[in-house]
Symmetry: C2
């Protein structure tokens, strides 16, 4: 009730300060923003602010801070973990109108962008200078760089080029108490604590970003792409290990299994090798001399490990065709199943065969089909768990399988998320990977930034920590002191 | 006095628990540890513990925490910023006996090492498997990986391969309250806040590391190295910019100016091109096909920008000869000057010519000679400021020039340290780069780990912050709220 009254006062103050044109108060219009790419978590925001300047964001956060009203930032709303799930009694700050590329500094290989700038828009702007923005989530045509920062997004090419965190050198952020601060800048690696790496991937819990300084990457001289058909995922996995083990780092190695191939065929007729139990898409980029030499090796490794068909893209059109099947795979699953869950987990690459068999076994046991599409090079799995929501019990079984897959990832030394983030979806899984003490330590850091827990509360952490507690001096009193983590002595 | 009594009790407890053989209490023997590589800051530690196991470290830290006695960790003591400067009333925890390489996991491309393992020792152990540890400070024959982690060390090859932080995926740390926790592991990029990036480079202020998981890098197929003589630093700088601007990322581009060349000649007779105003050492590594193609381009860029002599190393012996001059440069300066200060600052590469001229001008104005040896590729300067300590006023003038060089770095958008760290030496310069509020924010994070400020106190931060203060809700009360940082609205 207190928050509702606070929200009323925030709405009134923002109407005066920003003007009604930047606010959405109508319930039907607000409901457009009830979820992000994770459509099964929904909440209609109490107020939507369409920020048109960094100042709008600062003003909004300050009003929220004054009234203790929660706020959530949203870019394009393509996130897959519910990181931009709104609060019914809170404010949703939409950054889509903040689309200015402020600076492209070719000499320093940096760009400064507003948070609503679309990922691909930056690459298009940098291309005439011979550069691009390397992180490329599959949603790159619509996702925002602010969202990429919040979720530390990956993409097909992060095997070679790293995650978003490796491409951000500075950010301006409105902290949850309404201050505007700069962290980092154009230069790499400043002294003192590395707060920037912590900000990236903090999913909006440490504030709202108003400006982002990113690295630009030189466009490669050559790109070569091949599609290889294998009898099964084991042989495709063995080829992957052989390629990486040789010291070659391809720009991408993507794998799809039979069910995923079937879905892609149904949707885009990509004409992948008939009868394949798995396909690999391998892409190399870099100086022509290097790429040619390594490409021949990659072909040899594929054949050696059982590839029965190899197709090398002769030009950009053929390359696009190869990628079309892979990139359509998520949506394509809708062609073969009424509903599905997209999972995102990580395992050491060497555990691929074992984990894929265990996933198949899980599916058989529970009578649930699982399609696998994944970044094989870095062990980032995206199992698609199929179900029919109209059949009683199927959704629950699918969710059980999906959760069990995460347990498999953890027990093999991996992680509950590779690139989609924790958000509202996976907060409940965090205790499977971290002890209470680990999570408490992270939240102590959060308290330093957001003492009133109003900045995207309910995300990442399953149980909010009360701020203001001082860690004790002695063993056992400190939040880190739990046998569960690593009490090895 | 309280700390002295506390130290007495800590000494007694540790004598009982660890045995006298692991402690150094004799004043003369303790004085061996009075400084690290920064020889002009000295303090004899109150007690030295030669830890022989991770457990020894945990026990020591817990005794210190119980008594509120400060402790400092020390690896090989090669640090150049006084990060391992002891406390007279505190304990120095030496990790040199912790030299076990616990695991080399070739399939996962990871190694697990104890903190006292010597940087080059790991590379030697990994080489038979076709791998090495990429960070290579000039001190790599003696420096410890624990020290590399604490200072986030760089090296000649970090232009291409990144800093230590880019090669560490996990650490076990004894926190300042004595708990043992694991952060990260063999897998990259776990969910939640990135505490590992913050731990790396925190210079021992967040605890003592007992185990480190690092990435192993595949040995390159080919390494090519050349030495180019230029008329002056401007032309060598222009060649550097042309090489980087072409999209080629050499493993290293090192520059030395006339005075540095003169010193190296005096010391090791490296026979660098006669009459050169500057030399570049450029090294390329990677697949042979790529290296050959790019090497030809590098040669062309050097000639185009005025190189009057190019020497390409025909074999490992000639390559070693080229590097000998560069690697001896710091020590060699002792041949041409009784005393010198080693500075470490960073500027954007594009500002090289301007800053080098300004440094020369500074030297002329104050009558101080400055030799320049630096990582040209990433703008990491190491000016060597020469003086004679026996001439009254010379040391003070040298320190003024050295400090003024850091101001130049800051005003050109750079940093007060590239790879040597802040330590005790540069804590006083931190306010030139960060506002009080910035430093306060970092210290709030520190308080979460070290509420009693006993973990390497006096390093990094010029003014200790009292822990336990809660940031206020409203603007102005929050430590981040200072116009100085980035109050742009």
């Amino acid at each position: 009730m207190g928050q509702q009254q606070g929200l009323g006062r925030v709405t009134q103050a923002l109407t005066e300060r920003l003007g009604a044109g930047r606010l959405i108060t109508d319930p039907l219009a607000r409901s457009t923003y009830e979820c992000d790419g994770l459509a099964n978590h929904k909440a209609v925001p109490g107020l939507v602010v369409l920020a048109e300047s960094p100042d709008d964001i600062a003003v909004t956060v300050r009003e929220c801070a004054r009234e203790g009203v929660p706020f959530v930032a949203r870019g394009s709303g393509t996130g897959l973990s519910g990181g931009a799930l709104p609060h019914t009694d809170g404010v949703l700050i939409v950054t889509s109108r903040l689309r200015e590329i402020v600076d492209i500094d070719v000499a320093a290989q940096r760009a400064v962008v507003q948070p609503g700038v679309i990922n691909l828009q930056l690459t298009k702007a940098a291309t005439p200078h011979g550069y691009y923005f390397a992180p490329d989530p599959s949603s790159q045509q619509v996702c925002s760089i602010g969202g990429n920062l919040a979720e530390n997004s990956g993409g097909a090419h992060c095997l070679k080029y790293g995650f978003t965190v490796h491409h951000i050198t500075g950010a301006q952020v409105v902290t949850p108490v309404g201050d505007v601060v700069d962290i980092g800048g154009k230069a790499p690696d400043p002294p003192g604590y590395d707060l920037l790496s912590m900000l990236v991937g903090s999913e909006g819990t440490l504030g709202v970003v108003t400006s982002i300084t990113v690295k630009l990457t030189r466009l490669p001289q050559t790109v070569r792409c091949l599609l290889a058909g294998f009898p099964d995922t084991d042989s495709a996995g063995a080829a992957t290990s052989a390629i990486i083990g040789s010291g070659c780092i391809p720009a991408a190695i993507e794998m799809m299994d039979t069910l995923a191939i079937e879905a892609a065929e149904a949707a885009v007729a990509c004409n992948y090798p008939a009868g394949a139990g798995a396909v690999l898409v391998v892409e190399l980029d870099g100086p022509a001399a290097q790429v040619e030499a390594q490409f021949a090796q990659v072909e040899a490794f594929c054949r050696e490990h059982g590839a029965f068909e190899l197709r090398v893209a002769a030009d950009e059109t053929e390359r696009a065709l190869i990628w079309r099947g892979r990139k359509s795979a998520f949506a394509a699953v809708g062609r073969i199943s009424p509903d599905y869950l997209v999972q995102d987990g990580v395992i050491p690459r060497t555990a691929l065969p074992e984990v894929l068999h265990a996933i198949a076994e899980l599916g058989r046991e529970r009578g649930v089909r699982v399609a696998n599409v994944f970044h094989a090079g870095d062990g980032n799995l995206h199992p698609l768990v199929l179900f029919d929501g109209d059949v009683p019990g199927e959704e629950e079984r699918a969710e059980e399988v999906s959760g069990a897959i995460l347990d498999l990832c953890i027990s093999h030394g991996g992680s509950i998320t590779g690139e989609h983030g924790v958000g509202s979806d996976k907060a409940k899984y965090m205790p499977r990977m971290f002890s209470d003490a680990d999570l408490d330590t992270m939240q102590m850091v959060r308290c330093a930034f957001d003492p009133d827990s109003i900045s995207n509360p309910g995300k990442i952490f399953p149980t909010p920590r009360l701020c203001g507690e001082r860690p004790g001096r002695h063993r056992g009193a400190h939040p880190l002191a739990q046998a569960g983590i690593a009490e090895v002595f």
